[in-house]
Point group: D2
Amino acid sequence: MSDKTIFSVIGGDLRQIQVAKSLLLEGFQVKIFGFENYTGQDLFISCEKTLEKALAGAKYIILPLPCTQDSLTLNAPFSEKEIKIEKIYKKTEQGAIILGGRIPLPVSLRKGIKIIDYFEREELQVLNAIPTAEGALQTAMEEFPGTIHNSDCLVVGYGRIGKVLSSKLSGLDAHVSVSARKYSDIAWISANGHTPCHTDKISEIIGRFDIIFNTVPAPVIGEKELAAAKPGALFIDLASKPGGIDFEAARSLGISTVWSLSLPGKVAPIAAGEIIKQTVLNIITQEK
Amino acid sequence: MSDKTIFSVIGGDLRQIQVAKSLLLEGFQVKIFGFENYTGQDLFISCEKTLEKALAGAKYIILPLPCTQDSLTLNAPFSEKEIKIEKIYKKTEQGAIILGGRIPLPVSLRKGIKIIDYFEREELQVLNAIPTAEGALQTAMEEFPGTIHNSDCLVVGYGRIGKVLSSKLSGLDAHVSVSARKYSDIAWISANGHTPCHTDKISEIIGRFDIIFNTVPAPVIGEKELAAAKPGALFIDLASKPGGIDFEAARSLGISTVWSLSLPGKVAPIAAGEIIKQTVLNIITQEK
Amino acid sequence: MSDKTIFSVIGGDLRQIQVAKSLLLEGFQVKIFGFENYTGQDLFISCEKTLEKALAGAKYIILPLPCTQDSLTLNAPFSEKEIKIEKIYKKTEQGAIILGGRIPLPVSLRKGIKIIDYFEREELQVLNAIPTAEGALQTAMEEFPGTIHNSDCLVVGYGRIGKVLSSKLSGLDAHVSVSARKYSDIAWISANGHTPCHTDKISEIIGRFDIIFNTVPAPVIGEKELAAAKPGALFIDLASKPGGIDFEAARSLGISTVWSLSLPGKVAPIAAGEIIKQTVLNIITQEK
Amino acid sequence: MSDKTIFSVIGGDLRQIQVAKSLLLEGFQVKIFGFENYTGQDLFISCEKTLEKALAGAKYIILPLPCTQDSLTLNAPFSEKEIKIEKIYKKTEQGAIILGGRIPLPVSLRKGIKIIDYFEREELQVLNAIPTAEGALQTAMEEFPGTIHNSDCLVVGYGRIGKVLSSKLSGLDAHVSVSARKYSDIAWISANGHTPCHTDKISEIIGRFDIIFNTVPAPVIGEKELAAAKPGALFIDLASKPGGIDFEAARSLGISTVWSLSLPGKVAPIAAGEIIKQTVLNIITQEK
């Protein structure tokens, strides 16, 4: 990978603009397409006029996260016109590698082109847990009329987001309990200084907590748990669809809930863009 | 102080509503006045019809923080009509104690009445630094497009707010430098795990920082410092008037600044109300 | 598992005494054997006279960690006489379960008896990382003439011990770098607030560090790394045999090294005993 | 203060050797006296033969901490012969400044000589709290058979040592309560994330704690408190004479106590020497 290597960044939001800027700063050649409506003054390259020009000579084509909402059209909020993903696949030159987040597989792919989903990379998921956790804290600060300091918080689930979030809650001097099911997760919760509890027993202890963060994409906070909650408790669901909180039951019980999705791009687009860029560079290094 | 002791909470915002609720929960008798327009369903006492009724029999009269904006009228955003502070002084019964935050002294005071400014209490100032610091973090999260995690932060000043804020920034895994002038403050900054620097030398190092929090109510961040800042740096001023950042210079240099004042009541009214209540109870305990 | 369930704790050091005490406190019946020379006053049961009596009626037989040093004799420092492991296997009653740490498999086992190695349990390994990390800190405090506070520390490897140790070093306000090889480990090191570096590049940066902790059981700190170390740097090896530091090279270079093994039993026998007991109970719960 | 400025370091332990080394490294001229029996190979200057030679031309004479145990003889463990403090005063040249820790005032002092006690400097006391706190942790790790992690710790007193120690205990994931008397200290204990309690009520809660650290030089832990302690609890007294724990009562109750004094010089002589050097340089800067 030399300074002559051409990257083509096509579509996406502020994160992809950061990817393009950051690759430029590292000394690579960068072409962009699909950002005509971006009005920021900080992007020192102009959009290519056509998709063909944007792909010409590009060794690496970087598509956004998520690539698409409808599995056909590229997710390109700053673009004037629709960009079809199949068209990108068709126009990509031999020898190029297409990297996208949650990228749909093409109907058929010409030989000599490779497609890689960077969203499947463990390091991206781990690093994305940082802005997700900060976004959850921001939401809690905005919605909760007390302080995080000295509040009693429950984090449901001890995967990547649960780990980073509970550590940051401790860093803000909350009292942090974390629920999990596996004995080894329970051990890690203790080892990291939090109070462990079993996810099946949440309803027995939920009345103690001021703020409950769910990270498990399965129905763990149902009517029983909601009914046992402390008056005024705040529920924040960070789990992707279908989420883990029974929102209907919460509404009928008059309980505050917030479902926060896709936080990295919303609360920290520059950080989230850097994470995508770094992951892409890791993939490229390993591919060679 | 028995359960029969009557507290009268007069005027103020959500914090004073919390003061009233919390005193009730501790078993005291509580009268309120000046909250007719409060629509929350959580206040289980109704407003007295007149100031006289509200003051009748009250041993402790609690006024808000700040008591007044114009030194005449009580700060009472939930009240339908104006309440004159002098009128409160006049109608207060013999033997009562009036407790207010930044309370103005009366023109003349009848014998047997005592006025105490709870804002002068060290413990209130210390505890208020907690919601202030969290409010500053919330502002930073909302305004800064990166994450606090791994960002380079400078806290100017190591008084109460500087101490609590720098500790919480560390808790979120920022890299924290703190500036001060006294050798003993520099020692405490080191002892608490931060990087110390001298306030006079900020201009030499300011280019390293992503977010700069000022806590000093004196002109410490002037044109020289602003001009040397990193592009995209965010300045948050937490100092009371006149503040410590030259906002005009910042504007002409196109630098983002936020002046965040009175954060406790805004970001965490329940916590801030609890702090007032606790301070009032401390004062009463010592007065006896 | 009722209160009538009989546990038999046979052999081991202070950790197994804690296992016996703690099971008693939870209401179980406990028999012990192999502790005749223990002089502490805190053990409220007396040793059985013979192995047969100790095993009679026992549903669970708990052996120490490690079970044996020579694969024949039980590790029983408080016992007057040798206890052969095969003899335990032979005398154990039908339906019983034998639980030991690094337990050797018997030549032949009678039907109806089960052998389980509790050292293979993930939760035991995770929880053991806590006393191991504290033991490493204690060693560093004892051997290093500066403070951990503000020192530059390198942790080599980000497995269980690396994770817990680097978190505790941060908690003591050291500047913590951690080396690993996998991108996902590098991401976790960042997410947990430490400075990541690649294990292959240690020799380039090792000159910055005051204390180097190795946790990798492979030759990672060789002559090249040692020669590049800062004068006065302290090396602590926590990796099991063969360790990761070239001790001969260190000696000839006059570099301080400490090889700390089996820390949990040495520095925190009560905590380490609790961990064994908890793991044993987890196993029993799952076995049913 | 130029590079030609001569410092004379007279007497003391490893800390003063570090002072001499560190001043040399900063480019000053350094003479030493009273270290003939020091056998380390790291001191690249040789001792002056006589006190007169050591003092000749010296602008700053640095004496140890404490200067003396008997108010007559210099505290000089590496010296072959006794050095009388009055003799130092007598032979010091006009215009020189003598800096010592807990330095006794001379019977009479010639004009043009100044004596400064660097132990009275706030920054030295603050910075010394760091090695003191680490020494306390080391003692706790050595003496307590459980882990600090997850243990219940009480710190009595919230002065400098109490502040640093409780913060480090939290950093090791202990559950930390701190006792104090003043409302503002109670507020700081909360603001720093610990559980506050009143020093007068220790006897009511002491039964919860595994390790009790006293930092108050007054009788706060008497028979009542000791009798109410948890079996196996460890008491560590960090207060200078007369200490704060009733050691006789503890002995008769069979309770483990450790009285740890002068920790900085013992556990971290290099760090403690650096603190003295830095304080001396601060004083000199202000004197000019």
